[in-house]
């Protein structure tokens, strides 16, 4: 294609520039390099694998359609995360609106399906892990969307405060403030769940 690399920091920008010029192979390469982390982010944000795949596809399509309008700055994955987080937050807002219109309780649709008891070796540990995941998932789902995004980017994506601030377009102070509030909420949720699930253990 003969396109000049726009930045040496991240070859992803070069792939994006070639995509804007109509190079579908460059776009496929770009998708292949970033699909796992974007799918993981969407799954953490939405809590649903199928919906996450749909969302990730749409994020890549947005990147494709607007490839010519992005200016190279920092790492490409922060741009992808930014589009992805905003897309997932929009989906969550729509989901909340649908719940509101259906007069259903928040978290009602997120109730995990009861699975049969697994009697294989290690099944008890597996059940414990699943129970922990369920509690964490419920706690995350109850967070306000801005706190949820910060927590997921910090805990599950391993981004620094500065990167989170860049992705979300907020200050680092706002990042640590939201993260701290999210931690407090999760701590309270875990405490209440422990007291409800195993009241005998308290005594």
């Amino acid at each position: 294609m003969g396109t000049e690399p726009l930045t040496a920091a991240d070859p992803g920008w070069d792939a994006l520039a070639r995509t804007a010029a109509g190079d579908s192979i460059a776009f496929e390469l770009l998708v292949g390099q970033n699909q796992d982390r974007l799918l993981r982010l969407c799954e953490r944000m939405l809590g649903d694998v199928e919906e996450a795949r749909d969302a990730a596809q749409e994020v890549f399509l947005k990147l494709y359609r607007n490839a010519a309008s992005f200016r190279p700055r920092g790492q490409l994955f922060t741009l992808l995360y930014r589009i992805g987080v905003n897309h997932c937050l929009n989906r969550l807002r729509r989901r909340n609106l649908v719940r509101f219109l259906r007069f259903s309780d928040p978290g009602e649709d997120d109730a995990p399906v009861v699975e049969p008891v697994d009697r294989r070796p290690g099944a008890a540990e597996s059940m414990d892990a699943r129970e922990r995941w369920r509690v964490v998932r419920q706690g995350i789902d109850k967070l306000p969307s801005n706190q949820r995004a910060v927590l997921i980017l910090a805990k599950f994506e391993g981004l620094s405060y500065r990167e989170i601030a860049e992705v979300l377009g907020i200050s680092e102070g706002a990042v640590e403030s939201r993260l701290f509030r999210a931690m407090r909420r999760l701590e309270a949720a875990q405490e209440s769940d422990r007291s409800m699930v195993s009241p005998a253990k308290r005594t």
């Binding site: 799954e43 953490r44 795949r53 947005k62 922990r132 999760l186 875990q190």
Partner: protein, 245 residues
């Protein structure tokens, strides 16, 4: 320290605190057990945040995305469910449109072709022979010969036999066979049998298709015709009361 100590602790936990600040905070933690307990709680909450490993990207995901990007316009940005619903609405609209167009076409063809067809048919059809009008029913009374005296009785059903026993040979339902009412003509018809009267069915027509009440009109006609009181009974000539003719 102008920030909340908990936020400082969180930064320390996440490795976001500068080294000199981290050193200061470590010294303070050694002196303040409440602060150390707070850090321990934050750390426990952070470590408990665990989710199952994310599902890997499905095979051909990148190829599917590229295909969707190349083949679709703005429509490709719509979520899968919305696109499926859109296709369903489009298909339903197409089916409805085809149905309406077909109906309109048929209606149009029927309205425009009807006069031509009529003219063509009329021109090519042979002359239709004139159907003579049905003769008007004569208002004059029909001369009906009364049955001869001694005409043998018709089929011996309960109706005729019973009818003969009625007053003036009327085609009415028989009275109860108590002897007093059927005594007039019981000798001529041999009727009046209580068993036969009992078997009479008021709802069934006679063999000629007439019902019980029709006999009244016939009798009235006879009376108007010759001024006599005839007892013809039913039109089958089974009536035996002909004493007036």
């Amino acid at each position: 320290m102008n920030r909340l100590p908990e936020i400082e602790l969180m930064r320390l936990l996440h490795g976001e605190l500068p080294p000199e600040r981290a050193f200061e905070l470590q010294e303070r933690l050694a002196r303040e057990p409440e602060l150390a307990e707070e850090l321990r709680r934050l750390e426990a909450t952070w470590d408990r945040l665990e989710l199952p490993p994310a599902a890997p990207a499905p095979r051909g995901f990148a190829r599917a995305v590229v295909g969707r990007a190349e083949n679709g316009g703005l429509w490709s940005l719509a979520p899968t469910r919305i696109r499926a619903a859109g296709f369903a609405v489009l298909a339903a609209g197409l089916a409805l449109g085809v149905g309406i167009a077909s109906t309109l076409a048929r209606w149009d063809a029927a309205t425009s072709a009807a006069p031509v067809a009529t003219e063509t048919v009329v021109a090519s059809s042979p002359a239709v022979p004139t159907v003579p009008a049905a003769p008007q029913e004569s208002t004059a009374p029909i001369a009906i010969s009364p049955p001869a005296v001694g005409t043998p009785a018709g089929p011996s059903d309960g109706w005729n036999e019973t009818n003969a026993s009625g007053p003036k040979g009327t085609n009415r339902a028989p009275a109860p066979a108590d002897g007093a009412t059927s005594s007039g003509a019981s000798a001529a018809s041999g009727a009046g049998d209580p068993a036969q009267v009992a078997d009479f069915d008021y709802d069934l027509p006679a063999e000629d298709g007439s019902f019980a009440d029709e006999g009244t009109l016939a009798d009235d006609y006879w009376q108007a015709f010759d001024g006599t009181e005839s007892a013809t009974g039913s039109g089958d000539g089974t009536g035996s009361g002909s004493e007036g003719l």
